[in-house]
Symmetry: C2
Subunit: 143 residues, 2 copies
C-alpha cells in the first residue's frame, strides 16, 4: 500500500482595489486547531489539479475568485504542520474585491506587506511570506 | 478522514562528463507497469522533504548522487498517471557520472536533448520535458 504525505495548497492572494492599486495580501484567523493567523489554504482533493484546489479553497475560505499568477514553491518540511506531514504547493494569486471569511476561516482580512503579523503566523507561513517578499516577480524557489 | 492525491517526485538529471561538458539527461526503462520510457522518480515518503525524496529516488533508480538546481513545476492532472491520481513535483538536477539502472528501472541511459524519444515517453513526461526545454535557466512553471 502506498503512503505519501498529505497534499495541500496555500494562496498568497494580492488584493487590488477598483483603481488597480495594491491593498495588501489576505490572511485568515483559523476557526479550527491549530488556531491562529495563517494564509488561506487547504487539502487538495483527489481528482482536482493543485491550482484548481487552490482556487476552490480561496472561494470557500475567503470568498474570492482568484486569478493564479504563478507557483511560489513547494514546502515539505515534515514538521511544518504539528499534526502530520503535509506538503503544501503555494501559489501567488490576485483578486479585486475584499475577502470574506468562510469555512475554516473565522475571519479573513487584508494586511499591507509592512504590517504582516510575523509572530502570530502558524505553520511555516512566515517562511513562505519571507520567500514571497524575497521572490517578488515570482521566480522559482523551493524548501 | 483526509484523502489527498499521492505525492511523487521526478528528476530531470543533467549529466556532465569530467571535463564539464553536457552529455544529456537521464531516462529509464521501467521494470514495472506501466512499462516504457520515463524520467526517473517515485513516491515521496512520509517524513522526508520532497527534494530529499528526489535525491533518494535518483540514488535508488539511477545510482547517482544528484545536486538539485531548482524546481521545474508541479504536475497534477488527475489523468497524468493511468493508475490513480499522482501529483509530481519535478526538480532539475545535475550529476557527474553515468547512471546505472536499479530498483524500478530496468536500465538507465543518457539521452542528448535532440534525441529524446518523445513518442515513447510515459505519463506526462513529454509535457514535462517540453516545459524543461522551454524553461531552461529554470523559471517557475506549473500545470
Amino acid at each position: 500500500m502506498i503512503q505519501t504525505p498529505y497534499l495541500a495548497t496555500d494562496g498568497i492572494v494580492k488584493i487590488f482595489d477598483e483603481s488597480g492599486s495594491f491593498q495588501g495580501i489576505v490572511l485568515i484567523e483559523r476557526k479550527n486547531e491549530p488556531r491562529g493567523i495563517a494564509l488561506p489554504g487547504g487539502f487538495v482533493e483527489i481528482g482536482e489539479r493543485v491550482e484548481e484546489g487552490c482556487r476552490r479553497e480561496m472561494r470557500e475560505e475567503i470568498g474570492l475568485e482568484v486569478e493564479i499568477e504563478g507557483l511560489l514553491g513547494v514546502y515539505s518540511d515534515p514538521k511544518r504542520d504539528p499534526r502530520f506531514h503535509v506538503v503544501s504547493v503555494v501559489f501567488v494569486a490576485r483578486a479585486y474585491a475584499p475577502p470574506v471569511g468562510g469555512d475554516d476561516a473565522k475571519r479573513a482580512f487584508i494586511v499591507p506587506l509592512e504590517e504582516i503579523p510575523w509572530r502570530e503566523l502558524l505553520f511555516d507561513h512566515a517562511t513562505i511570506l519571507q520567500d514571497f517578499l524575497g521572490a517578488r516577480g515570482i521566480k522559482s524557489c523551493w524548501r
